[in-house]
């Protein structure tokens, strides 16, 4: 299975990569780990005449944690590096969990978190929790640098808000608020190895026992990861009882827009949105309760 011919570029700086994207036109493709792009090329779905790899840009694979600024994940930081990074495991356990839930060992040693975002699959493992945690996409392009909240980044399956010749250089995830908890769960036919049939992630902030703030995102049930706004409303300002969690689950199921495909039927997805929503809400609440000072 040979790939079609392409020119291969390995720029050493981001500005060089942007210039290449500009000069080579819209058919040129940017590549981090290549686990999505090379497969599309093998299937013949895309035949880019020019590949621009970001792997040779020094420092772009950095993972940085700062007490005030939070976490920054560089564009070429591997999924396995994010899954095992001590600061991420400590301060962003659900971010590590989502990275660990992505594909399998070999793919995690090749693919990147930012690549998983830029591929813009509605079923991807990493977007929901980063959206829930108010992650910001760091973008560089011909017009300079800009930042975009991740929940405004996805525009459809495989479509992002990136403008021509723009590059995502990294992702910044703010620190979790005090008294907050996070959770992510997904379901797939082969025990999390394959593409998800449905996923749910939440960040929930407590004041005492009352849910002060909550951000819920459902994946694989619409053209992009969807925000469960009505489900959030059900929870906000209340104590998360079993009953409230169940009602929120029902609202999230109502809000989701699943289709039937080879991974699951729309009916199954709808049912599972309710189950996973309930589960992540309760888990995040538990985490927030245990993080509170006694």
């Amino acid at each position: 299975m040979r790939l079609s011919k392409f020119d291969f570029h390995a720029p050493k700086t981001i500005s060089e990569a942007i210039e290449l994207l500009q000069s080579k036109g819209p058919d040129a493709r940017l590549m981090a780990g290549g686990t999505d792009l090379l497969m599309k090329m093998k299937h013949g779905a895309v035949k880019p005449p020019c590949l621009i790899s970001l792997k040779s840009v020094p420092g772009l694979n950095a993972i940085r944690f700062d007490e005030s600024a939070g976490l920054t994940i560089g564009a070429t930081a591997l999924l396995s590096e994010v899954a095992e990074h001590p600061d991420i495991l400590r301060h962003y356990p659900t971010v590590a969990q989502a990275a660990r839930a992505t594909a399998n060992v070999q793919v995690r040693n090749m693919g990147t978190v930012v690549g998983n975002l830029c591929n813009a699959s509605p079923a991807a493992d990493n977007p929901p929790i980063h959206m829930a945690m108010r992650a910001v996409v760091l973008i560089e392009g011909p017009g300079g640098k800009r930042e975009l909240p991740l929940d405004e980044f996805f525009r459809g399956p495989g479509v992002t808000a990136l403008l021509p010749a723009e590059i995502v250089t990294g992702l910044r995830v703010p620190r979790m608020p005090v008294n907050a908890g996070t959770a992510y769960h997904s379901l797939s036919a082969r025990g999390k190895l394959d593409c998800n049939a449905v996923g749910a992630a939440v960040m929930l902030t407590l004041k005492g026992k009352i849910c002060e703030d909550v951000r819920l995102f459902i994946s694989a049930c619409g053209p992009t990861p969807l925000r469960g706004r009505k489900a959030e409303e059900m929870v906000r300002g209340k104590e998360l009882t079993e009953e409230i969690a169940a009602k929120a689950g029902a609202e999230a199921a109502e809000e989701s827009l699943p289709i039937t495909d080879l991974r699951a039927s729309a009916d199954y997805r709808t049912e599972m949105v309710a189950v996973l929503t309930r589960r992540v809400l309760k888990e995040a609440c538990q985490m927030a309760l245990t993080s509170q000072p006694a």
């Binding site: 299975m1 040979r2 790939l3 079609s4 011919k5 392409f6 020119d7 291969f8 390995a10 290549g34 686990t35 090379l38 497969m39 093998k42 299937h43 590949l51 790899s53 792997k55 396995s80 594909a103 399998n104 060992v105 070999q106 793919v107 040693n109 090749m110 190895l193």
Partner: protein
Amino acid sequence: MTQKHEPGECRCSRGLTRRGFLSTVGAGVAVASAAGKLAAQPAASQGADVLPSAEMTPITLNINGRTHRLLVEPRWSLLFVLRERLGLTGTKVGCERGECGACTVLMDDLPRYACMTLAVEAQGSEITTLEGLMRGEELGGVQQAFVEEDAFQCGYCTPGQIMAVEGLLRAHPEPSQEEIQMGLSGNLCRCGAYVHIFKAAGRAAQLKRGQ
């Protein structure tokens, strides 16, 4: 670049039959060393001038502790180069789409799919293939464990399984059952020999500890 090279004429693979190759060089390190010599040949090959040199890129790969210099097209996968250019056929062709794990190699001790790695991007990494696990003519620890535990039926996925276990044990010398299962999650066995494969991984950890 003035060197002319015709891939179809490369003696690394096409100049030798599989049987002749195996009977000449035996196995293991001998394979690696012979491949090393063969790899040096493209520069001197007298193939017809078909591909303009601009389309071939000289690269240097570090495989099983040996340095290989060769000419590649950017689109060639590491898997293609290992097997068809260097004769290192221990790495198997499976799905070629990053799912089955038959082509697993270690790059800087991490298991990766050679089918989804461009050869040009494999430069600068220490690459270990199945051939690199041999200790002279003796099997390496993981290979020995697979023999002891009868961890295969048809054997096609076995090289990839062995490389995944090798990578797992380099990171986790004493893996739990769950770590073994997760460590092998990127390798499919169509015959379903998983129970024996997991046992072999545990046995390999013991052998590596000298038990």
